[in-house]
């Protein structure tokens, strides 16, 4: 038996045989042909069948309201029916007298490299779509495409380096118990697709292909990111029981995902989504997000892309709010530093970026080029929309006052240009530096709401570098010192009727949620995929009981005791 841990990207528990998805590198044959008409027919037929396959997948997905995936696949169809791609392929066939596979590959490479040459990360990724589609048609021409779907005959856990939307499409989903991959991320289309099929998925398991054999039995826990190779009999029967309980729990959670959430004794807790890139939004809406508690605007600025101007930003913030049906959106101003940079900003490398020129500090320094356009864009988008502004990395009251003066300057400039904006926009701050939590009382007079970023608050309070694996084991949000700071912040805020949200990883941690609710948090903002479960956890908590227990937790100073104190408030399946 061996236990390995990775990143959970689609929840669920399953046990079954391993199926290694071996992707032979596509070898494209090149040979001369006489009968050009025959090659033309072959390529046209392969495309027609490919299109039919993708179309039936789109039909199945649209029933599940997977608009995002349908759009990706629609684009794939457009590539398949592209007249220029076909013309170029046919011209190669007729002029060079070469086989269809070779000519299609040459034609699609022509377009892929042209698209790749465009100075834009998004377009570079699209070049790979062209290659993927052409590979798909070529493997159909070679008759190797059916290898996977044909060999998979019994329910199995798919193990692969990576998995694409098209590969998932070609698998019989009734036989797929789970996905285990070496590379991937939570925002991958494949992960979104797995979630819509409710297939557990754990990724980021480097080297896993070398460790698993086709004869192994595997158990996957997509909630915790755990994979067990050849579980022993105890582990095995435990897992089966867990799986059944989880299915009941998750079905209940999904059925109620779009409902507002109250504790069992009626305290209202809002559950919002953290959004870090635009293609997360349909998923967030589907999972029942009541708004966006943290819109990380970094995705607009990172990489080599141009810094988006005021108009472009205003358009994006407005459209995000509109796609949430006008629900509350909290836009956090840019939080980058020398570790996450935009090449156009010329940031110098720093010895210690977490403590360096970042977030609000950097924005003040780049006031004209960065900060003012963003503030104005948020002000304009908040006109007749429920959009609020939040500042990251606040450490002193002076910073907030300085920002508010700048906000007035921005308003005046917009007014001079006769631009419409919301003059009474709500302003909040992230509580993520201990000094901000300690001075929470003073901040309540300056701002409308707080959102506690527990990841950074923990890192700064406990002096633990989150990115340093040698010490990251010490990184725990339920540390008594961190809890004390959260408690202090909430008390200060509630005295002045201000709300407090938690937007760090702690907000989605089943063990932490009862404590956070007990000390009075008003709102939890989590990754979209966690929303149904977080809501279900809240429904199972009695606020009065959580309040009593959290008072004990705050006086415990012992993490093992914290676990036993809160145990009664956590659904069995998530312990």
């Amino acid at each position: 038996m061996k236990v390995i841990s990775g990143t959970p990207v689609s929840s669920g528990i399953a046990i079954g045989a391993a199926y290694l998805l071996e992707k032979e590198e596509l070898r494209i044959p090149e040979y001369s042909i006489e009968d050009t008409r025959r090659e033309e027919m072959r390529i046209k037929q392969a495309i027609t069948i490919g299109k039919r396959e993708v179309n039936s997948l789109i039909k199945a997905l649209s029933k599940n309201k997977c608009t995002e995936e349908c759009e990706i696949l629609e684009a794939h169809i457009s590539i398949m029916e592209d007249p220029e791609l076909l013309d170029l392929t046919l011209s190669f066939i007729n002029n060079e007298h070469k086989n269809a596979e070779y000519c299609l590959n040459k034609a699609s490479e022509h377009y892929a490299s042209m698209i790749e040459a465009i100075d834009d990360d998004y377009m570079k990724a699209r070049a790979n779509d062209v290659r993927e589609i052409s590979g798909l048609i070529i493997s159909r021409l070679l008759g190797t495409d059916k290898a996977v779907s044909h060999k998979l005959k019994t329910p199995s856990l798919i193990v692969a380096d990576t998995i694409t939307v098209n590969e998932i499409a070609r698998l019989n989903k009734d036989l797929v118990l789970g996905f285990i991959t070496e590379n991937g991320g939570i925002t991958d289309h494949a992960a979104i697709l797995a979630r819509s099929y409710r297939i557990p998925f754990v990724t980021g398991l480097r080297g896993v292909l070398a460790e698993i054999n086709g004869t192994d039995e595997l158990m996957i826990d997509g909630n915790k990111g755990k994979v067990i190779i050849n579980p022993d009999s105890v582990e095995r029967s435990g897992c089966i029981a867990q799986r059944d309980k989880w299915n009941d729990f998750y079905t209940a959670a999904l059925n109620k995902a779009s409902e507002s959430t109250f504790t069992s004794d009626g305290r209202r807790i809002k559950v919002y989504a953290n959004i870090s890139e635009k293609n997360f939004i349909p998923d967030a809406v589907k999972q029942g997000a009541e708004g966006v508690g943290l819109l990380r605007t970094e995705f607009l600025f990172l990489g080599s892309s141009d810094i988006p101007d005021e108009d472009a930003q205003c358009h994006i913030y407005s459209s995000i709010c509109d796609s949430f049906g006008g629900r509350e959106i909290i836009v956090r101003t840019l939080d980058i530093g020398s570790d996450k940079k935009n090449t156009k900003l010329n940031l110098t490398d720093e010895e210690n970026p977490a403590l360096g020129l970042r977030g609000l500090r950097l924005c003040f320094q780049k006031e004209t080029e960065l900060f003012k356009p963003q503030i104005k864009a948020i002000l304009r988008s908040s006109f007749k929309r429920n959009i609020k502004l939040m500042l990251p990395m606040v450490t002193s009251v002076e910073e907030v006052r300085k920002f508010k003066a700048l906000l007035e300057v921005c308003k005046a400039e917009l007014k001079d240009k006769c631009m419409e904006y919301n003059p009474d926009i709500s302003i909040g701050i992230m509580i993520e530096v201990p000094s901000a939590a300690i001075l929470a009382d003073a901040f309540t007079d300056e701002v409308d709401f707080f959102s506690i970023g527990t990841n950074d608050l923990t890192q700064y309070t406990l002096a633990i570098d989150r990115t340093n694996s040698a010490v990251s084991y010490l990184n725990e949000g339920l540390h008594p010192a961190v809890l004390e700071l959260i408690n202090k912040t909430i008390k200060s805020a509630h005295k002045k009727n201000k709300t407090v949200a938690i937007c760090g990883e702690l907000a989605g941690d089943p063990k932490a949620i009862p404590v956070l609710i007990g000390i009075g948090v008003d709102e939890l903002s989590v990754n979209p995929s966690s929303i149904p479960v977080v809501k279900e956890i809240i429904r199972n908590i009695e606020y009065a009981e959580a309040k009593k227990i959290s008072q004990k937790v705050l006086k415990t100073y012992d993490k093992n005791k914290i676990t036993s104190l809160t145990s009664g408030l956590i659904p069995e399946i998530l312990k």
């Binding site: 684009a75 791609l85 472009a312």
Partner: protein
């Protein structure tokens, strides 16, 4: 020959989704459709050709239509782009 000049409002420009939508729309007409962007010209019924132009947010393109239903085609395609591909 009919020509219309329009501005691409989509925040990313003519990327996969918008190019796909445009080429699909263009394919519904019999006329030949071309998109002119600077010195480059692309078949308006080819998503890949449109994408390779690299048109970004806020840039102007010219839609050139040639054929029996050119007037109606140019009109509808220009409107389609103006309406942000909706």
């Amino acid at each position: 020959m009919e020509e219309r000049t329009v501005t691409v409002k989509d925040k990313i420009g003519l990327h996969a989704r918008t190019s796909s939508l445009f080429s699909k729309k263009a394919m519904m007409f019999a006329s030949e459709v071309k998109i002119v962007f600077g010195q480059k010209e692309a078949n308006g019924k080819s998503m890949l050709a449109i994408m390779s132009l690299g048109v970004k947010h806020g840039m102007e393109i010219k839609i050139k239509v040639n054929g029996e239903d050119e007037k109606k085609t140019a009109e509808l395609l220009a409107e389609f782009v103006e309406n942000n591909f909706a």
